[in-house]
Amino acid sequence: MITKRIIPCLDVKNGRVVKGVNFEGLKDVSSPVELAKYYSACGADELVFYDITASAEGRDLFTDILCETASNVFIPLTVGGGIHSLADFDRVLKCGADKVSVNSGAIEHPELIAEAAKRYGDQCVVLSADIKRVDGVFRVFAKGGRVNTGMDAIEWLKRGVASGAGEIVVNSMDTDGVKHGFDLELLAAVCEAVSVPVIASGGAGCIEDFITLFTALPKVDAGLAASIFHFGEVRIMDLKQEMNRKGIPARV
């Protein structure tokens, strides 16, 4: 039986992990390579590296650490942040990324999804969207959630899947950072609309939030989170054992 995936997301700036982390046995808490190894050993099913670097030098550092990570960690790696062109896809895929996540880049150039899917296969293209309710309608936001595009989120995701996106990351800005659980209403609407795997992001505060997610919405394939894993509030193995106890398949 296919298992539900648990995915830690690491924000990387100038080659270092941004959010503070403190684990026993981890020497360099801001080394993406060390942290990736740690998570892989702890049972993470996949890792997302999100590049929040602005400078060209930072970009080079990012690809260096990506190569080093892919040489040491043998679980799927998704890379996002600063992906605006096929050249960006190429740059990170050559360094060992398995999937590439597009967000603002796809909003600016919607044809990027189809072009990348044609060249690298649907399975390689992840469409990530920052979504927030505006007057009761789900809208897509660009530029890290700063700009309301005015686009209907469900229509945007359907269009992305029709163009070749192989997976969808749904990041709810309404629940993100609140730690009161995932945005079940939004996720239910997305699962209803698309047939590709859906990764839930935004709002996880405790193990129970993941149990609620996968129980209420069996069509959700994966749960993604950052700070609760980084700060040790939720340990991935504890989470997965609890999932199995509740009848939710997880790889332990």
């Binding site: 040491n72 043998f74 895929l93 050559k94 047939s195």
Partner: protein
């Protein structure tokens, strides 16, 4: 020395790295002579069957693979590389494979329930049909490995060494003498995957 065949299909960075961590010497090569001098061959691949089969044929590497496998050299196909080992595929038409393992490649949509997502993406458990298979020397029934595929090997019961359950039993790994295939990605399947690569490295010609 292990030759990882580079015929312009897919990304071989992780595959090469995974042999490095298990201490096996591996090269990425598109040269026929390297395949001939290698102890073992890896046939990787992602993407469409037709395109990959054409690339192998155009370069003449298909005949080299068939000849080397015929001499008893261990050959491991991964993902699309596994599918290419079979007789033919029905992915967008009908296309000829290498014919090293009896069987054909069909859409998983033919056998899985309608409400299951395609592709089959994620970690799924191996059900070992032939636990004694050499590449499973370090593998336990129930080990999880990472799959990404929309087609599967069918009509190959005699060669199936492991299945996985996705609403229907799907071929996860096959073997025919010295020719092996994994539908999943051992280079992306953590320790369980590295164990399979290690066991392949230890197989005898």
């Amino acid at each position: 020395m292990i030759a990882i065949l580079d015929y312009g299909v897919g990304n071989l960075f992780s595959l090469k790295s995974s042999f490095a961590v298990i201490g096996a010497e591996a090269i990425v090569t598109g040269a026929a002579d390297d395949l001939r001098s290698a102890d073992k061959i890896i046939l990787p691949g992602v993407g469409a069957f037709e395109d990959a089969a054409k690339k192998l044929k155009k370069s003449g590497l298909d005949q080299v693979l068939i000849a080397e496998a015929g001499k008893g050299k261990p050959l491991l196909g991964i993902c699309l590389g596994m599918q290419l080992l079979f007789e033919r595929s029905y992915e967008y038409g009908e296309h000829e494979g290498l014919g090293l393992i009896p069987g054909v490649i069909r859409p998983i949509a033919d056998v899985i329930p309608k409400d299951y997502k395609i592709p089959h993406i994620g970690w799924n458990a191996l059900q070992l049909a032939r636990p004694e298979a050499p590449i499973f020397k370090y593998t336990k029934d129930g080990d999880y490995v990472y799959f990404v595929h929309s087609y599967y090997a069918a009509d190959c019961d005699a060669s199936v060494i492991a299945k996985t359950e996705y609403g229907a039993p799907l071929t996860a790994a096959a073997a025919c003498g010295n020719v092996y295939g994994c539908q999943f990605h051992p280079e992306k399947s953590g320790v369980a995957g590295l164990n399979i690569l290690r066991a392949f490295c230890e197989t005898e010609a």
